[in-house]
């Protein structure tokens, strides 16, 4: 058990190092929300997205910061791992590991750690950009930061587990991005990341509520947006219990699917 954990810790270092040496992952997974936040903040800089209780306007940057933080959770966990592991399956990385005495749990700890570490750096970068460049007011109440912490942690872990499960779908490393990116893109459009959730028809909101990203975005909005905007949510509430339950359910689903579908190699293919 100790060995599994210490090798897992080693894997995290190895995985994070490799992550930042892959130009395409750094751009499409790590920097993408940062780029999108910049584009939205600049494009809609004249617009107002609501008013706080003291009458200050909610700017585009303020409105899109929680959305991009939620997108980051999905990208750092699900998109990152689904593509990464599918590629590792087809390029022989997993076959090599399968022949080594690396416990499969250590491998998962490595992937999870990579998602958490890169996700945290990404969130830090988004907060820094929002605060320093676009003047987004950051919350002062500790409760909000506690909410941020658990939505972040639960969000990344859930999204990472779903990523491991989804990595079983692409039949080759080459097709991985083609299979995974449309899924994450559609989820982002229907879950209130790029488009304001309130603008979506109710049926589409209900569809989105089945998936975890909607709940991550809602959790992040509850942290960063003024409470005056709470009425715009479904049920006119941030519904943090709902966020916790939805993410926990998806976490269990992801764990089970990952456990059932993950193989070091496709035997006899």
């Amino acid at each position: 058990m100790m060995r599994t954990v210490s090798l897992g810790a080693r894997r995290i270092g190895y995985e994070v190092r490799a992550y930042f040496r892959q130009g395409d992952t750094v751009f499409f997974t790590f920097l993408f929300p940062v780029v999108m936040l910049t584009i939205f903040s600049v494009s809609f800089s004249e617009g107002s997205f609501g008013q706080a209780a003291d009458g200050t306007e909610v700017t585009a940057a303020h409105f899109y910061l929680p959305a991009m933080l939620a997108a980051g959770l999905l990208l750092s966990g699900l998109q990152n791992l689904a593509i990464d592991i599918a590629i590792e399956k087809s390029d022989g990385t997993l076959k090599r590991l399968a022949g080594s005495p690396l416990p499969v749990v250590s491998y998962f700890i490595g992937k999870l750690g990579q998602s958490l570490a890169t996700g945290a750096l990404q969130a830090g970068l988004l907060l820094l950009l929002g605060f320093t460049v676009f003047g987004v007011p950051l919350p002062e109440e500790p409760e909000r930061w506690i909410t941020f912490a658990w939505v972040f942690a639960l969000g990344v872990v859930t999204s990472a587990m779903l990523g491991i499960a989804l990595s079983a779908v692409p039949r080759s490393g080459k097709s991985a991005t083609a299979v995974v990116i449309p899924i994450t893109l559609v989820l982002q459009f229907i879950s209130g990341v790029y488009l304001s959730f309130t603008l979506l028809p109710e049926w589409l909101q209900n569809v989105a509520s089945v998936f975890p990203l909607k709940w991550m975005a809602q959790g992040m909005r509850s942290v960063f947006l003024p409470d005056t905007l709470e009425v715009l949510e479904q049920g006119e509430s941030w519904n943090l219990e709902g966020v916790a339950i939805a993410l926990a359910v998806w976490l269990v689903v992801g764990l089970v699917l990952a456990r059932v579908t993950f193989r070091w190699i496709r035997k006899d293919s």
Binding site: R17, R21, Q22, E88, G99, S100, L102, K267
Partner: protein, 309 residues
Amino acid sequence: MDAAVTRVGVPLGCEKGHSGRMTTHENVVEVRGLRKTYGDMNAVDSVDFDIHRGETFALLGPNGAGKSTTIEILEGYRDRTAGEVSVLGVDPAHGGLDWKARLGIVLQSSGESGAVTVAEQLRHFAALYPKPRDVDEVIAAVGLESKAGTLIRKLSGGQRRRVDVAVGIIGAPELLFLDEPTTGFDPEARRSFWQLIRTLQSEGTSILLTTHYLDEAAQLGDRAGIIAAGRMIDVAPIAELGGADARIPLVRWREQGNLREQRTETPATLVGELVARLGAEPEGLEVIRPSLEDVYLDLVGREHAEVTA
């Protein structure tokens, strides 16, 4: 068959290995009646062989003959359809982490993204094994000292292959699988690879080698098995493959426009008789002492003829 008799004559019990540890005639690999079926095709059929502790066993055969299927079953990568297999005393279908820690595997191909350096990769893999070799020594042994800090994806194909070999031996395995290890090596790199393998052999490592290069098998192998169309057609010490008859020199010449050939233990005498009989230098005269390659091609060709007949 003399040599075989001598070999059996070695006292069964034990010999002293170069490493100083006692090597017995214990088998590190035992394969009996191995069969692997895909659909209704037998990729491997009724294959039997053993690998003794400390020996290098070369598995030879044409592409698609079943070499890789066999080796991957032994490595635990594939399930078998039938037969008994024991690798280091364990059924590879149920080999755990402790078992894997005693193996070294160099796969046939690798296309990993290589986003870590040579030294990082080896340090990482060294950490997975209970008693690894020294990372710097292994890097030096495969001749990559000057590339230790280079990302693996920036190496040439031959250099990447050497990283594969380094990763395969970093855990100081008891049994090393080398699946076509020197494909893509230049002659010099191949020679230094052989030197590395000889060092491992002297340390007592048992090795299963598949290769297309018969000179490599002859250089490194103690015994060899030839597999064709999924069947093991011969298993013997390298010098005895194909039996004694296969190595009888062949005299070939042209007489009245026809190609004539005759096997004889005394080729010089035959040539003398020919000169006397023809009263002239025989046309197109050749005396061929069959090399391992000739013996191999003859064996595989015969098998092919039987399969198609």
